[in-house]
Protein backbone atom coordinates (compact mmCIF):
# COMPACT_ATOMS: atom_id res chain seq x y z
CA UNK A 1 0.00 0.00 0.00
CA UNK A 2 2.97 2.31 0.45
CA UNK A 3 3.14 2.54 -3.37
CA UNK A 4 -0.26 4.24 -3.28
CA UNK A 5 0.94 6.68 -0.64
CA UNK A 6 4.10 7.40 -2.64
CA UNK A 7 2.00 8.16 -5.71
CA UNK A 8 -0.27 10.49 -3.72
CA UNK A 9 2.81 12.27 -2.34
CA UNK A 10 3.99 12.70 -5.93
CA UNK A 11 0.59 14.12 -6.93
CA UNK A 12 0.90 16.67 -4.14
CA UNK A 13 4.47 17.55 -5.19
CA UNK A 14 3.32 17.93 -8.82
CA UNK A 15 0.50 20.28 -7.76
CA UNK A 16 -2.30 18.00 -8.98
CA UNK A 17 -3.74 18.04 -5.48
CA UNK A 18 -3.27 20.38 -2.56
CA UNK A 19 -2.75 19.13 0.98
CA UNK A 20 -4.02 15.58 1.41
CA UNK A 21 -4.59 13.20 4.31
CA UNK A 22 -5.75 9.61 4.59
CA UNK A 23 -9.04 9.21 6.48
CA UNK A 24 -11.78 6.61 6.72
CA UNK A 25 -11.08 3.01 7.63
CA UNK A 26 -7.47 2.96 6.39
CA UNK A 27 -6.77 6.15 8.31
CA UNK A 28 -8.23 4.54 11.43
CA UNK A 29 -6.00 1.48 11.02
CA UNK A 30 -3.00 3.77 11.58
CA UNK A 31 -4.24 4.10 15.19
CA UNK A 32 -6.20 0.87 15.70
CA UNK A 33 -5.88 -2.83 15.03
CA UNK A 34 -6.09 -3.91 11.37
CA UNK A 35 -9.59 -4.70 10.08
CA UNK A 36 -11.04 -5.39 6.67
CA UNK A 37 -11.88 -2.58 4.33
CA UNK A 38 -12.09 -2.35 0.58
CA UNK A 39 -11.25 1.26 -0.19
CA UNK A 40 -8.89 4.09 0.61
CA UNK A 41 -10.36 7.52 1.37
CA UNK A 42 -7.99 10.34 0.47
CA UNK A 43 -9.20 13.76 1.60
CA UNK A 44 -7.74 16.50 -0.56
CA UNK A 45 -7.72 20.22 -0.97
CA UNK A 46 -8.10 20.87 -4.66
CA UNK A 47 -6.19 23.62 -6.40
CA UNK A 48 -8.63 26.00 -8.17
CA UNK A 49 -8.90 25.24 -11.87
CA UNK A 50 -7.21 27.65 -14.25
CA UNK A 51 -9.42 30.60 -15.08
CA UNK A 52 -12.19 29.75 -12.67
CA UNK A 53 -13.13 29.26 -9.06
CA UNK A 54 -14.80 25.89 -9.66
CA UNK A 55 -13.08 22.90 -8.11
CA UNK A 56 -12.76 19.81 -10.23
CA UNK A 57 -11.54 16.25 -9.76
CA UNK A 58 -10.70 15.99 -13.47
CA UNK A 59 -6.98 16.77 -13.08
CA UNK A 60 -6.71 13.87 -10.60
CA UNK A 61 -8.41 11.46 -12.98
CA UNK A 62 -6.34 12.71 -15.94
CA UNK A 63 -3.09 12.34 -13.97
CA UNK A 64 -3.84 8.82 -12.80
CA UNK A 65 -5.39 7.52 -16.02
CA UNK A 66 -2.25 8.68 -17.83
CA UNK A 67 -0.29 6.44 -15.44
CA UNK A 68 -2.30 3.35 -16.26
CA UNK A 69 -4.87 3.49 -13.46
CA UNK A 70 -8.50 2.65 -14.15
CA UNK A 71 -11.77 4.04 -12.85
CA UNK A 72 -14.56 2.09 -11.18
CA UNK A 73 -17.52 4.30 -10.34
CA UNK A 74 -16.26 7.14 -8.18
CA UNK A 75 -13.11 5.16 -7.38
CA UNK A 76 -9.75 5.05 -9.09
CA UNK A 77 -8.05 1.68 -8.93
CA UNK A 78 -4.44 2.05 -7.79
CA UNK A 79 -2.35 -1.04 -7.03
CA UNK A 80 -5.57 -3.06 -6.82
CA UNK A 81 -7.16 -0.73 -4.25
CA UNK A 82 -10.26 1.38 -4.82
CA UNK A 83 -9.09 4.87 -3.98
CA UNK A 84 -11.49 7.79 -3.63
CA UNK A 85 -10.38 11.42 -3.59
CA UNK A 86 -12.77 13.46 -1.49
CA UNK A 87 -12.71 17.25 -1.00
CA UNK A 88 -13.60 18.18 2.60
CA UNK A 89 -17.37 18.56 2.94
CA UNK A 90 -17.63 19.82 6.50
CA UNK A 91 -15.74 22.23 8.75
CA UNK A 92 -14.71 19.24 10.85
CA UNK A 93 -13.08 17.49 7.89
CA UNK A 94 -11.42 20.75 6.82
CA UNK A 95 -9.92 21.00 10.30
CA UNK A 96 -8.90 17.32 10.23
CA UNK A 97 -7.05 17.94 6.98
CA UNK A 98 -5.23 20.93 8.47
CA UNK A 99 -4.33 19.05 11.66
CA UNK A 100 -3.30 15.79 9.94
CA UNK A 101 0.05 14.30 10.92
CA UNK A 102 2.76 12.49 8.99
CA UNK A 103 3.51 8.86 9.79
CA UNK A 104 6.03 6.55 8.20
CA UNK A 105 4.73 3.56 6.19
CA UNK A 106 7.70 1.37 5.27
CA UNK A 107 9.80 4.43 4.49
CA UNK A 108 7.04 6.46 2.81
CA UNK A 109 5.90 9.54 4.74
CA UNK A 110 2.11 9.47 4.74
CA UNK A 111 -0.25 12.14 6.06
CA UNK A 112 -3.17 10.82 8.09
CA UNK A 113 -5.98 12.30 10.19
CA UNK A 114 -5.35 12.26 13.92
CA UNK A 115 -7.21 9.65 15.95
CA UNK A 116 -9.19 12.40 17.68
CA UNK A 117 -10.43 13.82 14.37
CA UNK A 118 -11.21 10.37 12.96
CA UNK A 119 -13.28 9.50 16.03
CA UNK A 120 -15.05 12.88 15.95
CA UNK A 121 -15.91 12.38 12.27
CA UNK A 122 -17.30 8.92 13.12
CA UNK A 123 -19.41 10.46 15.86
CA UNK A 124 -20.66 13.13 13.45
CA UNK A 125 -21.55 10.63 10.71
CA UNK A 126 -23.18 8.38 13.29
CA UNK A 127 -23.85 5.09 11.48
CA UNK A 128 -23.66 1.88 13.52
CA UNK A 129 -20.21 1.03 12.10
CA UNK A 130 -19.01 4.54 12.90
CA UNK A 131 -20.11 4.13 16.52
CA UNK A 132 -18.35 0.79 16.61
CA UNK A 133 -15.17 2.49 15.45
CA UNK A 134 -15.47 5.18 18.14
CA UNK A 135 -15.68 2.44 20.76
CA UNK A 136 -12.52 0.85 19.30
CA UNK A 137 -10.67 4.14 19.58
CA UNK A 138 -11.73 4.38 23.21
CA UNK A 139 -10.88 0.76 23.95
CA UNK A 140 -7.37 1.25 22.51
CA UNK A 141 -6.86 4.35 24.63
CA UNK A 142 -5.97 6.07 21.36
CA UNK A 143 -7.72 9.37 22.08
CA UNK A 144 -6.38 12.27 24.10
CA UNK A 145 -9.42 13.28 26.19
CA UNK A 146 -8.66 17.00 26.19
CA UNK A 147 -8.03 17.20 22.43
CA UNK A 148 -11.08 15.04 21.64
CA UNK A 149 -13.50 17.00 23.81
CA UNK A 150 -12.14 20.26 22.45
CA UNK A 151 -12.94 19.09 18.90
CA UNK A 152 -16.40 17.92 19.95
CA UNK A 153 -17.07 21.25 21.65
CA UNK A 154 -15.96 23.34 18.66
CA UNK A 155 -18.05 21.30 16.22
CA UNK A 156 -21.23 20.99 18.27
CA UNK A 157 -20.87 17.27 18.90
CA UNK A 158 -21.07 17.18 22.70
CA UNK A 159 -24.72 16.12 22.68
CA UNK A 160 -23.92 13.21 20.37
CA UNK A 161 -21.01 12.29 22.65
CA UNK A 162 -23.29 12.18 25.70
CA UNK A 163 -25.79 9.96 23.83
CA UNK A 164 -22.99 7.73 22.61
CA UNK A 165 -21.72 7.21 26.15
CA UNK A 166 -25.22 6.31 27.32
CA UNK A 167 -25.58 3.65 24.61
CA UNK A 168 -22.01 2.36 24.64
CA UNK A 169 -20.85 1.69 28.18
CA UNK A 170 -17.14 1.65 28.98
CA UNK A 171 -15.46 -1.31 27.20
Amino acid sequence: MEKIFALINQMEADGVIGRYAIGGAIGSIFWLEPFTTMDVDVFVNLPPSAGGALLSLSPIYDYLLARGCETRGQFIIIEGWAVEFVPPGTRLVEEALTAAVVRDVNGVPTRVFTGEHLAAICLQVGRARDHDRVSRFIEQGALDAEKFEDILHRHGLLEKWVKFQQNYPQP
Binding site: E2, F30, E33, P34, E139
Partner: protein, 58 residues
Amino acid sequence: MTELMRRIIESKRACRQELATLPVGEKLRLVEQMIADTRAITATQPPKPANPVRIGRV
Protein backbone atom coordinates in the same frame (compact mmCIF):
# COMPACT_ATOMS: atom_id res chain seq x y z
CA MET B 1 -22.62 -12.52 31.33
CA THR B 2 -20.91 -15.78 32.19
CA GLU B 3 -17.31 -16.02 33.33
CA LEU B 4 -16.43 -17.81 30.09
CA MET B 5 -17.90 -14.99 27.98
CA ARG B 6 -16.06 -12.44 30.06
CA ARG B 7 -12.78 -14.26 29.49
CA ILE B 8 -13.40 -14.56 25.73
CA ILE B 9 -14.16 -10.84 25.47
CA GLU B 10 -11.08 -9.97 27.50
CA SER B 11 -8.94 -12.23 25.34
CA LYS B 12 -10.25 -10.59 22.14
CA ARG B 13 -9.62 -7.15 23.61
CA ALA B 14 -6.04 -8.08 24.48
CA CYS B 15 -5.54 -9.42 20.95
CA ARG B 16 -6.87 -6.17 19.41
CA GLN B 17 -4.57 -4.14 21.63
CA GLU B 18 -1.57 -6.22 20.63
CA LEU B 19 -2.40 -5.84 16.92
CA ALA B 20 -2.90 -2.09 17.32
CA THR B 21 0.68 -1.68 18.50
CA LEU B 22 2.17 -3.22 15.32
CA PRO B 23 4.01 -0.91 12.90
CA VAL B 24 1.63 0.72 10.40
CA GLY B 25 3.26 -1.02 7.45
CA GLU B 26 2.71 -4.41 9.05
CA LYS B 27 -0.92 -3.55 9.88
CA LEU B 28 -1.59 -2.54 6.27
CA ARG B 29 0.05 -5.77 5.06
CA LEU B 30 -2.33 -7.70 7.32
CA VAL B 31 -5.28 -5.78 5.86
CA GLU B 32 -4.18 -6.77 2.36
CA GLN B 33 -3.90 -10.38 3.47
CA MET B 34 -7.34 -10.24 5.07
CA ILE B 35 -8.86 -8.85 1.89
CA ALA B 36 -7.28 -11.61 -0.19
CA ASP B 37 -8.64 -14.19 2.26
CA THR B 38 -12.07 -12.52 2.27
CA ARG B 39 -12.20 -12.61 -1.54
CA ALA B 40 -11.36 -16.31 -1.49
CA ILE B 41 -14.25 -16.96 0.91
CA THR B 42 -16.64 -14.74 -1.05
CA ALA B 43 -15.79 -16.67 -4.20
CA THR B 44 -17.40 -19.77 -2.68
CA GLN B 45 -20.82 -18.08 -3.19
CA PRO B 46 -23.00 -19.66 -0.48
CA PRO B 47 -26.59 -20.46 -1.54
CA LYS B 48 -29.19 -17.81 -0.67
CA PRO B 49 -32.24 -18.86 1.37
CA ALA B 50 -35.51 -18.98 -0.58
CA ASN B 51 -37.23 -16.82 2.03
CA PRO B 52 -34.68 -14.36 3.39
CA VAL B 53 -35.42 -12.23 6.44
CA ARG B 54 -36.37 -8.67 5.56
CA ILE B 55 -36.71 -5.61 7.71
CA GLY B 56 -40.35 -4.57 7.64
CA ARG B 57 -42.33 -1.78 9.20
CA VAL B 58 -44.48 -3.02 12.09
